[in-house]
């Protein structure tokens, strides 16, 4: 069943008087029980998509979409109150900077208990409820692998090590028992052992609790170890999306190919001491976005037609937007 269906999401922000499309016709479909990876370079708008989904964007940015539904309910026309309620029940976000996204003046315990939905509390009196909340909080911490719950619950965010706080964020996300967890770059700047712990934790949550995960990252290794479906984002445009294994075997879009090639561990045929491949140039700034396909200036296969935005095409369950996809060559 389709949980989240986003079609042609466009977000315009006002930068020095110009309306600039930070997101340009982004498509994203998340199914139930799926781990969906959203990949892109830094600055490609991954975090903005996340914020657009949960409605945490500044109100003066313009958001338009052909379709943005959550289990059939339209998120864009919904009242703010209803939308918050829906997000509180069904969607949780693990933010990129755990420490910044926690209230610095409240203990972690208070903030975790705030996320426990009232419907999970069975007892009547408030002291019983508080006790029950405490118990739920402790068991949540144990589930994400924090053993010293007492110290953790009564600490303030700045007093806790960053890997613990990342686990704590996961506990917070799980607390409301959502259908979808959006993990925005949860392994940012972590060493391998902690990263593995976090990734295992997320996969386990996906399997045991049947929660979908939208895994936003640029870490291809992490993605390939857990995700089943991948959407590639470049500069605010969805470039290609499809089953991860198929995508790895044969990418249609030049950018996806370049992205996969840039990760050495993905290429078994890479000879020793050969130069690593990478695309020329860097991702353009918001002020100097190319028209049409935004990869244009960097694309090895670009031709004149590329100044017109290619429409999204579909081969089975595999979507791509390119005038000159790679599979055409092989014919």
């Amino acid at each position: 069943m389709i949980l989240l269906d986003v079609k042609n999401l466009t977000l315009e922000m006002d930068i020095a008087g110009d309306w600039i499309k930070a997101l340009d016709k982004v498509n994203l479909v998340i199914n139930e029980g799926q781990i969906h990876a959203l990949v892109g370079e830094s600055g490609s708008g991954k975090s903005i998509i996340v914020k657009a989904i949960v409605g945490a964007l500044p109100s003066h940015w313009r958001i338009t979409a052909d379709r943005m539904t959550w289990r059939g309910q339209n998120l864009l026309t919904m009242s703010l109150k209803k939308r918050r309620q829906l997000i509180r029940n069904d969607i949780s976000v693990i933010f990129q900077n755990p420490i910044d996204s926690l209230d610095p003046l409240l203990t972690l315990g208070d903030q975790l208990k705030e996320m426990i939905p009232k419907t999970n509390l069975t007892k009547g009196w408030f002291w019983e409820r508080n006790k029950q909340k405490q118990d739920i909080a402790i068991s949540l911490l144990h589930k994400v692998g924090i053993k010293n719950h007492e110290l953790c619950l009564k600490s303030y965010p700045h007093q806790i090590a960053s890997n613990v706080i990342q686990k704590f964020m996961i506990a917070m996300a799980v607390a409301s028992e959502p259908k979808l967890i959006i993990a925005d770059n949860p392994t940012k700047g972590m060493e391998v052992t902690t990263k593995t712990q976090i990734l295992n934790l997320l996969s386990r949550i996906n399997q045991v609790r049947d929660m979908s995960i939208l895994f936003v990252s640029h870490d291809l290794l992490a993605i390939s170890s857990m995700a089943s479906y991948m959407t590639v984002l470049y500069c605010g445009q969805t470039v290609e999306s499809g089953d991860l294994r198929l995508l790895r075997k044969r990418a249609f879009h030049p950018y996806t190919k370049a992205l996969l090639d840039s990760a050495p561990s993905f290429r078994k045929d890479l000879p020793a001491k050969s130069a690593l491949t990478s695309l020329e140039g860097t991702i353009p700034t918001l002020h100097h976005l190319p028209t049409g396909c935004r990869l244009g200036p960097r694309c090895p296969r670009a031709r004149r037609e590329c100044v017109i935005m290619p429409v999204s095409r579909r081969v089975h369950n595999h979507y791509y937007s390119c005038h000159f996809p790679i599979h055409r060559d092989t014919k």
Binding site: K51, V54, G55, A56, P58, K81, R84, Q85, L86, I87, R88, N89, I91, S92, V93, F95, N97, D100, S101, L102, D103, P104, L105, L106, T107, E114, M115, I146, K147, N148, L151, C152, S155, Y156, H158, Q159, I160, A161, V164, M172, S176
Partner: protein
Amino acid sequence: MLNILLRYTNLIIITLFILSLLSFALAYLFPGDPIEIMTGLKLEELQKLQNQSVNIGYDPEGGVLSQYGHYMSELFSGNWGVSFNSGQPLYEEIMQSLPASIELSAYALTISLILGLPLGFIAALRHHKLPDYTLLSFSVVGYSIPVFWLALILILVFSLHFGWLPLSGRLSLIFDVPNKTGFILIDILMSDIDNKHAVLLDALRHLILPTLSIAIVTTTLILRITRRSVIETLNSEFIQAAYARGLTTRQVLVRHGIRNALIPILPLLAMQFPTLLTNAMIVETIFSWPGIGSWLIQAIYQQDYSAIQAGMLAVSVFVVLFTMSIDMLLRLTDPKRKKVERGTI
């Protein structure tokens, strides 16, 4: 905790020590003999007292250090000398006028807090909308008006033109309230005079104009500080995150917004206190309010050096103690600055 207390005590003691040095130095900087300025007595009178074998500890031959030591011991024993002009002991005069000033500033500060904080919140919550612009333009106007001019205008309109409120003073001359604490409202409530109610009403009527003229400026200040801080807090990441977690606007504001917005405001408010006191001094002079401000300005007019020296010391000590203790209180209660205790979790 103890560490912080010790550090602040240390800071206060050092600051007060420097203040006492400055005040001591004033005696040498003012024209006239230092001993005259410190005691408020003329040299001949001192000589006379010395001859009458009254031990006043006057030793013109002693070094500066022993003079300073003596000065300090007299300060602490409450012997601050006498005024050149009135011949009254300065300690008593200051202890009578300082409470009047504190009272006036306290009421003004209370009113500005009651008005300024909510208005600042309203402006920030309606950022870039009509209420924000309206409040902001009012605050710019209020902030730009000089206090003395505002006080005069208020007198002109409400006392002279309409005749609604009294022109000056703390209390109508027909009433006589025994002076106990120096705070007029408390004195009235504590005294057992007839028609207490009428006296209280009269005191309040006298309070309105001076309080208002100080409060308007301070309110605009507080409004602007609050507005800025609230806007910054609301734009911070954890507020956005709280929204993204599906909390309602009210929950976000009450649980996360207010506390975080207030924490950076309070030290700034404490820093506004000297400005407030300065404004109060000016307003006191205009309304002939018997506070430390008008008393000091009177002393300056009359070149009453001993009074200036003692008055400045008293006011500055009061300001230092007040601001530092607020600072310390905030430092002790701010969880963000709690010592990081990283245990293995």
